[in-house]
Amino acid sequence: MRTPPTASRLDLSRSDRADLLAEARRLLPSPLRRHLLGSSLSLGGLAMLTGCSLSGGASAETLLRAVSRLNDDAQAWLFDPSRLAPVYREADVARPFPYNAYYGVEQIRRVDDRNWRLELGGLIAHKASWTLAGLAALPQDEQITRHICVEGWSAIGRWGGVRFSDFLKRVGADLGARYVGFRCFDDYYTSIDMATALHPQTLLALSFDGQPLPAEFGHPVKLRMPTKLGYKNPKYLAEIFVSNVYPGGYWEDQGYNWFGGS
């Protein structure tokens, strides 16, 4: 009797698996997809679809996320509150500066400056909301620094605005709290450690390259920190809150490191 064509059957099943996988990628909502595919596929993969080592993948992910928490602590320990990120000349500014978000340019949200308010919440004494004009009336600072993206690329930009430490003191924020959280009107959210919030180069940015902050870079107000990676710098700010409860973040909840220092 002829032996069955083992090799070709294997090939077929391999391509079937690839198809199944592509299907799974399309069907799963993105956070779940990343959670599942983040580690199980990585181990060379498709283990998930063989049905036997999903728990193996899940425990690898648990371990990796635990190490990521330790990396938060390591970065907090390394972070020097008075060490400044390098500053550059105006000629070094990247023009055009790259756009990056979790959605494409066509989905950029726009607000009417007259209706926009910055809300304050949590451990803050004076919770009155701020208008753009109110923020613009505060003493302004400027920096030309390198923006480093988690993807690896970097670009030098020029941001102007209010020193965040000045702002936090002015509104009576509890500076001993652990976290400052940000809610954005493009549904993005993130949070940072208080030490970085008080860093002298952490800026409530109202302008980019001498112009009011353009829509693609977070109009009307974003938080700019040259000591953290791009995804930690929230654009389109809607609310700032101070808290001792870990607020997480859009990318952080999916597996990006929370501290995200650069």
Binding site: R34, S39, V67, D80, T227
Partner: protein
């Protein structure tokens, strides 16, 4: 009487295999990170990469970096304190190296003693130690460029450090290929790295 001579002490074998695991994890997850912004103009096929997506690759990369660094530190310290690094890898002489290199390329270089490295081996092992050192240092600049100002300046800035990190990875990868080739030609060395003799 049957005395087994241990060419590689147990701590060294553990160092070797932990290093192999750490390097493979770092290289394959690093390829996925590179693909997020492929500044050299080519992509690495994602089937060769680890992590599934950028966030997964970063989790692997920033976990395995501790293994590579701690294991590498233990290797260097124990190698220096025990005198083994000096005994095995030094001296290297230009004349002897050239003669061994000629012999190696013509297939005439003998490997009869596992406890004695020829000049080509010494150069390769020293080079890969230096290469891993460059990988770790350039990696530190990429990981926390603001917090290591001296290192950042020495490596020519963040963007330059990206290129150095990639080149050092390629150097390590090249070593790995040669290393695997030589092990295939001399399987006894693999056995020695597993059981010590």
């Amino acid at each position: 009487m049957n005395i087994t001579v241990q060419f590689h002490p147990i701590w060294l074998r553990i160092n070797h295999w932990l290093n192999a695991v750490a390097f493979l994890v770092l290289m394959s997850s690093g390829w996925r990170i590179y693909d997020a912004s492929p500044f050299l103009g080519f992509r690495i096929p994602s089937s060769l990469t680890l992590g599934g997506w950028l966030g997964g690759a970063l989790l692997w990369h920033f976990a395995a970096m501790w293994l590579l660094a701690a294991n590498g530190l233990a290797y260097l310290l124990s190698g220096i304190v025990s005198g083994r690094l000096r005994q095995r890898l030094l001296p290297i002489g230009v004349t002897a190296l050239l003669s061994d290199l000629r012999a190696a390329l013509s297939g005439q270089l003998a490997h009869e003693r596992l406890d004695h490295y020829n000049q080509v081996q010494r150069l390769a092992y020293l080079a890969v130690i230096l290469d891993l050192l460059v990988l770790v240092l350039s990696g530190l600049v990429l990981w926390k460029s603001v917090q290591f100002p001296l290192l950042r300046t020495l490596l020519g800035g963040y963007e330059q450090a990206r290129r150095i990190h990639f080149l050092a990875m390629a150097g390590g990868g090249l070593f790995l290929l040669l290393h695997l080739l030589m092990t295939a030609l001399h399987p006894r060395t693999l056995l020695a790295m597993l059981r010590g003799h």
